[in-house]
Amino acid sequence: MTQYFIRRILTIIPTLLAISLVIFAILDLSPSDPVGNLPLTIPPETREKIRAAMGADDPFFIKYTKWLGQFLINEPLNLIEKGTGITFPGSEDRLRIISWQTRSPIVDLIFERLPQTLWVVGTAYLVAIVLAVPLGILSAYKQYSIFDQIGTFLSIVGYSVPTFFTGLLFVVLFSVQLKWFPSVYNTTHVVTDFDSFVVQLRQIFMPVAVLTLAFTAQISRYTRSAMLENLNQDYVRTARSKGLNERTVVMRHALRNSLIPVVTLVALGIPAIFQGAIITEQIFRVNGLGQLLILAVQGGDLPTVQTLTFIFAVLIVIFNLIADFLYAFLDPRISYR
């Protein structure tokens, strides 16, 4: 098994290189102009100079290797320096990936945006897991009961109705009509005492609720089918026939096996947290990573888009790997060669 894992980890490297090349190539081949948004009064010669200074005119592979070097070597070194306080030689003139829009290092921008995204989307994900797993278990255990039928119907509804519609409905209902919650998330709000905590809770409620609905529907559907598959297995009948009480049969025998695929699904969904539920952030004006991406896309800010998209891809690859490991660790029936 160790051998399998080592091989699996090693295959990450070519995969990531291929992905980075694809992302970089798509963006580089595009006819987008980084100086397109600058004022029209700038004369063409100056425009050319600005382009050249940005490095936008370099040949493809020079741009690619420069970017890759900055991404894989310079930025991690900077992070280590920041985290530990140790200074490596040459830290002053180490080149960083600079956003074309804000002229500041992209990694700093990302760290500014990350907390908001993690708060909103992460909370929703946790709440969804806590809600969905018991719902799925109960639904499967009482298959075809009223509870199961309503639950299955609601979960397919929650799975089908897109977040941009539920989000807008929530705004109409809770902000416009009932005036319970603010429709805009105020990032500068600082929690200092109980009152400001309540304000924070109120403003985080709607985006979290919208995302929780979507996540819960997905996870509970999955839990239900995993549980159903196990409840019909022979070993459950054996457990019952040797006289174990129902609680032990369900919670210790069936549930443990059913949670294996659920855990992997949850792990696979984590990159989505970082992608920050782009649409929900847009509706409620949460200035997280998703919004950063949208702004960069609209402004033709190629380095930011490249870096963000690549970070998302890295996360997806890593969490795929983690899900695989979890699966192997949790399920001894799977053999790896």
């Binding site: 897109p162 847009q282 998209t309 998302f312």
Partner: protein, 311 residues
């Protein structure tokens, strides 16, 4: 031997009068009918399709007609779905937008399914191609889809707009991008099934009868992997409709005067406090369509699963 044959023939002749022969699709239809939600969903979806296709013959208001006096009219008998900020009729615009949204869903699905089936078939059948094709599939699966979709649409829409005109250009771009980034699950599914199918005796028999690889793939393997493909196709229509709406909702889809359901939502969200109906109807249509398609997919999956097939 001879007696059993005659017995079988006589049995067949007897039972033919009582029981009609079961065909594959007849069986599927029988089981599909048992899934009541799926049947109801098919009816609703049929209604939506009819409304979108022929609705403009009944509701003859021009979706582009500007009637500034009737702006923000709310839901009245003249405008049952209300009007927007320029007084354009929302019902007419929802009908027109539905055509675009539905056709995007179907065409993007076709592109994705064709690529996916082809890749899966080749990877499963030719073991020399398997490794390469599956590496490519894995790489595509690791791409963050929505960010990439946003980027590609934004970056290439101007050149396509010049080449094919503003509406057709965006249509082609959206459909190709959604289909081209959605084929991977189908490819994996098909490959898995083909791998199992390839080892079966009937394939060996076809081989020994001298059938070419092409014939075996087309005549023997493809029909046998069709049912999971059909189910995947149904779900991917729903996914494509949602993706298109999401793109439009982020302002990166069709031009403003060209309504799709997502675009109507995007335009309507700025007037949320004045007329919520502007957001409500297109949103409801998207949700209802996707819900119906998902229910039908569930029903089809149950009906096509051979493990559930009895008698």
């Amino acid at each position: 031997m001879a007696t059993t044959t005659t017995k079988m023939i006589s049995l067949k002749a007897e039972s033919a009068e009582i029981v009609k022969p079961h065909t594959l699709w007849g069986d599927v239809w029988r089981r599909f009918r048992k899934h009541r939600m799926a049947v109801a969903a098919s009816l609703v979806l049929l209604l939506i399709v009819i409304m979108v296709t022929f609705g403009s013959l009944v509701w003859t208001l021009d979706p582009e007609y500007i009637d500034i006096v009737a702006a923000y009219s709310g839901m009245t008998s003249d405008h049952p779905f209300g009007t927007d900020n320029l007084g354009r009729d929302t019902l007419a615009r929802v009908i027109q937008g539905g055509r675009v949204s539905l056709s995007i869903g179907v065409i993007a699905m076709l592109i994705g399914i064709v690529i996916g089936t082809l890749v899966g078939l080749l990877a499963g059948f030719y073991s020399s191609l398997d490794n390469l094709l599956m590496r490519v599939t894995d790489t595509f699966l690791s791409l963050p889809l929505l960010p990439l979709l946003l980027v590609i649409t934004l970056l290439f829409r101007d050149s396509l707009r010049v080449a094919f005109g503003p509406e057709l250009g965006i249509f082609i771009l959206t459909v190709v991008v959604i289909g081209g980034l959605g084929w991977m699950p189908t490819a994996r599914l098909v490959r898995g099934d083909v791998l199992a199918m390839k080892e079966r005796e009937f394939v060996l028999a076809a081989h020994s009868l001298g059938a070419t690889n092409m014939t075996i793939m087309r005549q023997h393997i493809l029909p046998n992997v069709l049912s999971p493909v059909i189910v995947a196709a149904t779900f991917s229509i729903a996914a494509a409709i949602i993706t298109e709406s999401a793109l439009s909702f982020l302002g990166l889809g069709f031009p403003p005067d060209f309504p799709t359901w997502g675009r109507l939502l995007f335009d309507g969200k700025d007037y949320l406090t004045l007329t919520p109906s502007l957001v409500f109807w297109p949103g409801l249509m998207i949700s209802l369509t996707v819900l119906c398609v998902n229910f039908i997919g569930d029903g089809l999956r149950d009906a096509l699963d051979p493990r559930l097939r009895k008698g």
